[in-house]
Symmetry: C2
Subunit: 137 residues, 2 copies
């Protein structure tokens, strides 16, 4: 993949056929475009999709805060959109992104750091940036 992937979605409108849930939201998976690492899953509404396609910076909808969640706005850990995909049923999005720094609020690269090892729950990824540093405490 090349750096000019953004030309793929430049000028695109929110795709028809996306199935939003009762709250007007659709789940969006963020995947690092070159390494393939799955970074996180969050939710988008029609307006956050439109903003993301227009700006090329990923904007989710925060269910807990009921407002736009411009990824990296407070932490600086932005996601540059590289490609925008959706699935056969139109009920899930896959965002190919270039994640600056870390995706997870815990300071880990990916939010998916819990797994089983030898049958027991284990944390399988290290903290890369301390949350204090991320959120300026």
């Amino acid at each position: 993949m090349t750096d000019d992937m953004e030309t793929n979605f430049r000028g695109a409108s929110v795709p028809e056929g996306i199935k939003y849930n009762a709250d007007g939201l659709v789940p969006a998976i963020a995947q690092q475009y070159d390494s393939g690492e799955v970074l996180m899953m969050a939710w988008m509404n029609e307006k956050s999709i439109a903003e993301t396609l227009t700006t090329g910076h990923v904007c989710y909808w925060s269910r807990s805060r009921s407002k736009f969640w411009r990824k990296g706005e407070s932490s600086g850990q932005v996601q540059i959109l590289k490609d925008f995909l959706w699935d056969c049923d139109g009920d899930t999005l896959l965002l190919m992104v270039d994640q600056k720094g870390v995706a997870c609020h815990t300071g880990r690269r990916s939010c998916f750091y819990n797994a089983f090892r030898d049958g027991n729950p284990a944390i399988i990824a290290d903290i890369v940036i301390s949350p204090d540093e991320l959120y300026g405490k």
Copy 2:
């Protein structure tokens, strides 16, 4: 990654701290464990997680049919579980799988085959196995 990844979750119980939604479900992303390709997103409940960890074959919960969806049961396109991860908030699962054949009911390898090209919606993946062949028509 090796073929004995299954030893990681052998004997594991459904992890505590998973946050199910009002319907008792949690979204599960399936990713091909070696190539990193994101294949699909579906839903699991506690019992389908338990079955998946016990059998090593991925079992979702079908929201449309309100029953267990043992992936590949009718199509033969099973998903062998290689690793089982969950995120920082416990509200999304990431299944590292070995997808036999194709994940998508359309006969494509991945369900994420819709994207924009030159700003217009486009299908970016070919059909590998015809749905007629998959479902024995």
